[in-house]
């Protein structure tokens, strides 16, 4: 049984075969994964070295009793409460320019879901020649300006979600609504790529 009963047979066949990579399990990654699991995707590779902290609960798909746990383990537990039949290859490691191509080899799409700009740029550079579509996010801090967040396509395989300017700063914190919009747009872009729909 697929968790999403609204898929037709052709869509279900594509989504159940798809393998999606997620780089980072924070505000973007945890919410992207919840969307993709609910859409009916089951096979994931993801990496994060961090633990859940109290300051993550304002936007990330974790719960208060999970503070201190590894994000890989805590998120796997939460996603399996939506769909117990997921195949999750969640790795507790720091992604680098060297290991990124190997970790995500064989993925149909990779989602860039890091917090830091340097890591975002690293991932895009590491996969630029891989032929794997990459969905990345830049510019999602603060509140308001919902309509400034959009999806741009760059080159053959790169999709950029965000307003490209609202970075984290002393005045601009990450918050659930805007991070959530970007995460949902990343997930929606992944599904559109897989199903051959308009981005």
């Amino acid at each position: 049984m697929n968790v999403n009963p609204y898929l037709n047979d052709a869509q279900r066949a594509v989504l159940e075969r798809a393998k999606i990579g997620v780089a980072g399990l924070g505000g973007l990654g945890s919410n992207v994964l919840a969307h993709l699991v609910r859409a009916g995707i089951r096979l994931f590779v993801a990496a994060d070295f961090d633990v859940v902290s109290a300051s993550n609960l304002n936007r990330q798909f974790f719960f208060a009793d999970q503070v201190g746990q590894k994000k890989t383990g805590a998120l796997a537990e939460n996603l399996r409460r939506i769909d117990p039949e997921l195949e999750l290859d969640f790795r507790d490691l720091r992604l680098t320019g060297e290991n990124t191509p190997e970790v995500f080899a064989g993925c149909d799409v990779v989602v860039e879901a890091f917090d830091k700009a340097d890591a975002k740029t690293m991932l895009i550079g590491a996969l630029a020649d891989s032929g794997i579509p990459v969905v990345a996010a830049s510019g999602l801090a603060g509140f308001g300006k919902s309509n400034d967040i959009r999806v741009r396509k760059a080159g053959k395989n790169l999709y950029l979600v965000g307003d490209l300017v609202s970075g984290i700063s002393a005045e601009l914190a990450p918050a659930s609504p805007r991070v959530g919009i970007a995460a949902a747009m990343e997930a929606n872009t992944v599904v559109a790529i897989l199903l051959g729909l308009e981005i």
């Binding site: 980072g24 924070g26 505000g27 973007l28 990654g29 320019g97 879901a113 890091f114 917090d115 830091k116 700009a117 340097d118 975002k120 740029t121 895009i124 550079g125 630029a128 990345a136 996010a137 830049s138 510019g139 999602l140 801090a141 741009r152 760059a154 080159g155 053959k156 395989n157 790169l158 950029l160 965000g162 490209l164 300017v165 609202s166 970075g167 984290i168 601009l172 990450p174 991070v179 970007a182």
Partner: protein, 68 residues
């Protein structure tokens, strides 16, 4: 004068100019910059100092900023 389409706008440049020099002349930093050069994705780790711009090239620039 040769022209490049920079973020959708025709922009003049000197023949023989390299991508890095073109950006520096326009005070554009390369840190966490994603470049789409004639459809190819580049970052600061690519040899921007040796890639030469040609008349009619398309160059789109995107900034990666923190938050997630």
């Amino acid at each position: 004068m040769a022209k490049v389409i920079l973020n959708g706008k025709e922009t003049e440049f000197s023949s023989g100019e390299k991508i890095l020099g073109f950006l520096q002349a326009r005070k554009v930093g390369t840190k966490n910059l994603i470049l789409e050069w004639n459809g190819k994705i580049l970052t600061e780790k690519d040899p921007l100092e040796s890639f030469e711009l040609n008349d009619g090239d398309t160059l789109n620039l995107f900034s990666m900023v923190g938050g997630g």
